[in-house]
């Protein structure tokens, strides 16, 4: 591949006077799956929004297939943290939204719904879907325009752990089937390592790239693979090396007077005595 699918060099991005991104460079080749991980506020979501064309006010140079990112580029799809299905459209019309009014009738909608296991829900309203099903519909919508690059902003953070694992596998198989390149932002190091060929670790603020961990394991991967655990450890090291600012309130907690064992019901001395003895046990 002569030219990377995404070439990103963001010198600086500011929100008013606050600098959120400081000299970040990242190239992604076609067919790769790359995760951006980092503490909240490190600018990783902002980076994604720049690639999607949702943010245009930054210093730097970003090229998708050699052209500047623009909203509604056929090359780029976007999946939000929440499904953001339009509640007044049926599931099929949501998936085919890009094809205009009654986009749900487009033949590709049926195919995509079948791929994400929602074939039976084409005519349902979004309110009838569970959180995981709604996010599956959102994935189908993101893939409808057949983008070369699919951007995902913490796509599975709002679903439970079991649903998340199923959705991760679903995403991988659907993306492989369509040959889609994935760039996803996540808080979840497990998820980043399991899904990606490369994990790009950022720390902030302002956001910088702290390092990169390659995950060469072939797919399908076993979540219990010790090699994945080692990659996770590397990611954690990179995160810690960035000296995150912890919100350390231990000193304040130690200084505060212990909460008084206020009697809820004075007539129950037994309860109070038990509570007091429990309180005296060192944690």
């Amino acid at each position: 591949m002569s030219q990377p699918l995404l070439q990103l060099q963001v010198e600086e991005k500011r929100f008013r006077t606050h600098r959120v991104i400081d000299r970040v460079a990242l190239d992604i080749r076609a067919g790769e799956t790359v995760s951006l991980v980092g503490p909240s506020g490190c600018g990783k979501s902002t980076l994604l929004r720049i690639v999607a064309g949702l943010e245009t006010d930054y210093a730097g140079r970003v090229l998708v297939k050699g052209a500047a990112p623009q909203l509604h580029s056929p090359d780029v799809g976007f999946i939000f943290q929440e499904p953001r299905l339009l509640p007044w459209l049926s599931v099929a019309d949501n998936v085919g939204f890009d094809a205009g009014r009654h986009g749900g009738r487009h033949p590709r909608v049926r195919e995509l719904l079948a791929e994400v296991g929602l074939a039976a829900f084409a005519d349902a309203w979004p309110k009838q879907l569970s959180g995981g099903m709604a996010q599956r519909a959102a994935i189908a919508r993101g893939l409808f325009a057949q983008p070369a690059l699919l951007l995902l902003d913490e796509p599975f953070s709002a679903v439970d752990a079991f649903t998340r694992m199923r959705l991760q596998d679903l995403l991988l198989s659907v993306a492989a089937h369509h040959g889609t390149t994935l760039l996803l932002v996540t808080h979840d190091i497990d998820e980043a390592v399991y899904l990606s060929d490369r994990v790009v670790v950022m720390n902030g603020a302002p956001g910088r790239i702290a390092g990169e961990v390659a995950v060469p394991q072939p797919r399908p991967r076993d979540r219990r693979d010790p090699a994945l655990a080692r990659a996770e450890a590397e990611v954690l090291t990179l995160l810690d090396g960035g000296r995150q600012e912890h919100l350390d309130t231990a000193a304040d907690i130690a200084a505060a007077p212990p909460p008084a064992a206020a009697p809820v019901d004075g007539s129950a001395p037994g309860f109070l005595a038990r509570a007091a003895s429990r309180a005296s046990v060192p944690a």
Partner: protein, 260 residues
């Protein structure tokens, strides 16, 4: 819920009105209340029948309904136009909204003398008054609806490259529909209210005129029949909007009125 229990549910709603009617009939029959002031239900049915069979009532209903329809259509359409401009454009809001908020503060009946002076006593002042009445609820709810559209859904529109008219018709309009219906329904009920006001003041036909006529000829039965007919018409026209609302807003994820 079975059909039987639904029937039982609506049957329960009839208990109180039927009991009141029976009490009313008995009270007038026993001579506790003068029949000239409070005609018994049986006499009202008689009056209604007489009015209905000689076609007078139908004429009144027709002209009143037409006035409401015309006034409501004009008022609601203007409200949609102005509301869309104010809701979608900061500029338009800055120029227009303060004026409309000020106009709203005028009790609408205060327009009556002016409308009579300007437009005479024909249909024009009546329809204008009804249009004024219908305008404000539609306008206020529509603007509030547009301004409360979820930013996240608008962003979805942006991701799909929607701009201008497409963004309005595919995102803003459907998202505003629930508010719009609230506005249309309260606008319609105000339209009926202003119809009565307009017809009480200057009319020779219509249900409001029937009210005046009943008072002037000391016929309480006419007044009560007109009131009942107005109630029925109001309920009927609201029912039409309510059905449209249910059909168009089936997608809404709302509490359905029954605790699970």
């Amino acid at each position: 819920m079975s059909a039987l229990s639904i029937a039982a549910g609506s049957a329960r709603g009839w208990v109180l009105p039927l009991a009141l009617l029976a009490l009313w009939e008995a009270a007038v029959g026993a001579g506790w209340v003068g029949a000239n002031l409070l005609p018994p239900p049986s006499e009202l049915v008689h009056t209604l029948y007489a009015l209905a069979t000689d076609g007078v009532l139908l004429g009144h209903i027709g002209i009143s309904s037409l006035r409401v329809l015309a006034g409501f259509a004009i008022g609601a359409s203007l409200a949609l136009l102005v509301g869309a401009a104010v809701g979608l454009s900061r500029q338009a809001e800055a120029y227009l909204d303060p004026t409309f908020q000020a106009l709203r503060a005028i009790p609408s009946l205060a327009w009556v003398p002016l409308l009579l002076l300007w437009l005479g006593i024909d249909e024009a002042p009546k329809i204008t008054l009804i249009a004024i009445g219908a305008f404000f609820p539609v306008y206020l709810n529509f603007v509030a609806g547009i301004q409360n559209v979820d930013r996240k859904l608008v962003e979805v529109g942006g991701i799909f490259g929607l701009q201008g008219r497409a963004l309005v018709t595919r995102i803003f309009l459907p998202a505003t529909l629930p508010n719009l219906f609230t506005g249309l329904r309260s606008g319609l009920s105000l339209a009926w209210m202003f119809l009565v006001a307009a017809e009480l003041i200057a009319a020779t036909r219509g249900l409001g005129y029937l009210l005046t006529d009943g008072r002037e000829t000391a016929r309480a039965d006419l007044v009560i029949v007109a009131i009942v007919v107005l109630a029925l018409l109001g309920k009927l026209s609201d029912g039409v909007l309510q059905r449209a609302e249910r059909r168009l807003l089936a997608w809404r994820d709302v509490f359905d009125g029954r605790a699970a």
